[in-house]
Amino acid sequence: MNTTKRILVVDDEPGVTRSLKLNLEAGGGYEVTIENHANQALTTARHIRPDLILLDVMMSETDGGEVAARMEADPLLRGTPIIFLTAIVSNEETGGHEMLKGDHAFIAKPVDLGELKRSIQDHILS
């Protein structure tokens, strides 16, 4: 049984996506695909069928909310857990942890790696 989980990271900052990939894959158990173009995110997601998507909220081409809506509307991707990464909420608002707003989880940037891994684990298991 293949326990490696596929994660798609969508963020227009290559430094962020690269470092996330490096850290998540370093611990083993995750295969991370990077997408730096919000407009390509849907196509890439359809191609790799990820177990979870990490999605930046504020991106230059299309904002994260719009990308998430397109994925929700896609029969292949519907139900895939999405964790939003956002720079414009503070730790006080998220309580230093993941914050749920509607059906979505938010984690404040810069993320705490341990907290991010716990959150990914929770969402993939659920």
């Binding site: 963020d11 900052e13 430094g15 962020v16 690269r18 470092s19 996330l20 490096l22 850290n23 370093a26 611990g27 504020m58 990464l85 720079a87 414009i88 909420v89 503070s90 730790n91 006080e92 608002e93 404040a108 940037k109 810069p110 993320v111 790696l113």
Partner: protein
């Protein structure tokens, strides 16, 4: 009361004339009866004087002529023509002249007397008018004085109102400037947050990666840990900016303020112990519950405790006291308030800085040691709860922060 002489002046002129003529006739009769040996000539002056005085100079002159004539008749009848007939006529003419002079002089005296009386009457009237005028003027002066006093009191009240309005305007202006600052901080914070947090995230994850590689070199491990802490501090400042500038709805619940204080103290207990700060709690036990956002108030209290800690680098005493204001005066409508005082035994606030401590970004700490937002945040938290905060240097040294909570919260909360 009038004398008999004065009463004569009230008689009509005709009565005086008739009486005088009758008197002349009476004197003439006496003159005739007494004969030439007894002289009554001077008695003719009585009717002449009365007539002149009370009926006028012309009457007097007529009476003088009549008296001379009566004297002539009496003299002639008494003597029965002795000697030359011209003598009695001459005497009568001379007497007539003498009587006329008396009548004339008396008339003049009378005229002068009347003029004097007229003048006295005129002056008395004028004086009376003047007195009446003065009384009226004095009354007007009094009325004007009363009006002036009222006007002065009004203007004093207006001045006090104006001063109050001016102070209110200054306070509003200060708040407006602060909100303008706040707004610009808010705009800046969102932009800065996005632009700074992404690079910080790259750095943070990079540091995490190296941290997890378990290097053999302990100096490298410390270096990476230092990087993580630096990133955390930078990120924290952005978070404070975001929290300060973005209004969030209050989560109001009924709270025991003493519990909130004790829990806030617990949050900083370790730091206070490390800084050799002794905590003294003087918490009144019968306080009513307050409607407040517990997280925000805890945040504000922690800021105050940390400020006190920073003010006592050599250690000291942090006193936290709660009390209840007593209603001012009899039946006063001023609401009762719960007072929370936080005192330190530190170096105090320089007088020139007392008015600036609530300004966003004002700090006396070294660069990198504080954002200058701590007290601005506490003030904002108190503002949105409808309470107040003030700072005073204590005479015995150190600072007292006084937080005042209305027991009945503002309706707008």
């Amino acid at each position: 009361m009038k004398t008999g002489f004065q009463r004569l002046s009230d008689w009509p002129a005709s009565a005086i004339k008739a009486g005088s003529v009758a008197l002349v006739a009476l004197v003439g009769l006496v003159d005739y009866l007494t004969g030439v040996d007894v002289s009554v000539t001077l008695f003719y002056l009585v009717p002449i004087s009365l007539g002149t005085w009370f009926a006028g100079r012309s009457t007097g002159l007529l009476l003088a002529g009549a008296s001379a004539l009566v004297w002539l008749v009496a003299d002639v009848l008494c003597r029965a023509v002795v000697g030359h007939p011209f003598v009695p006529i001459w005497n009568s003419v001379t007497l007539s002249l003498g009587f006329s002079v008396v009548a004339f002089l008396l008339g003049a005296l009378k005229d002068r007397n009347e003029d004097l009386e007229q003048t006295v009457l005129e002056r008395t009237r004028k004086l009376r008018d003047e007195i009446a005028e003065r009384v009226r003027a004095e009354r007007e002066l009094k009325e004007t004085n009363v009006a002036l006093t009222t006007a002065r009191e009004d203007s004093q009240r207006s001045f006090a109102d104006l001063q109050e309005a001016h102070s209110e305007l200054q306070r509003t202006q200060f708040r407006l400037i602060e909100s303008a600052k706040l707004e610009s901080v808010g705009r800046m914070a969102a932009g800065v947050a996005h632009e700074v947090k992404n690079p910080l995230m790259t750095l943070s994850l990079g540091a995490d990666y190296f941290l997890n590689r378990h290097t053999e070199n302990p100096a490298e491990a410390v270096l990476v840990q230092d990087m993580k802490e630096a990133i955390h501090r930078a990120s924290n400042i952005i978070n404070i900016l975001l929290d300060y500038s973005r209004p969030r709805p209050l989560q109001l619940t009924s709270q025991e303020i003493n519990r909130v204080i004790e829990d806030s103290l617990t949050l900083v207990r370790h730091q206070l112990n490390k800084g050799r700060v002794t905590v003294v709690s003087e918490l009144r036990t019968d306080l009513p519950p307050l409607i407040l956002d517990r997280t925000r108030i805890e945040h504000g209290l922690v800021n105050l405790f940390l400020n006190a800690l920073n003010a006592m680098p050599e250690g000291g005493t942090l006193t936290v006291r709660t009390s209840l204001t007593t209603p001012a005066g009899n039946g006063s409508n001023s609401p009762r308030c719960v007072i929370v005082e936080v005192e330190d035994t530190g170096c105090g606030i320089a007088p020139e800085n007392l008015s600036k401590i609530f300004e966003p970004f004002f700090t006396t700490k070294q660069p990198g040691q504080g954002t200058g937002l701590g007290l601005a945040i506490v003030r904002k938290i108190m503002d949105i709860h409808g309470g107040t905060i003030s700072f005073h240097n204590r005479p015995e040294g150190g600072v007292r922060a006084t937080l005042k909570f209305n027991i009945e919260p503002k309706e707008s909360l």
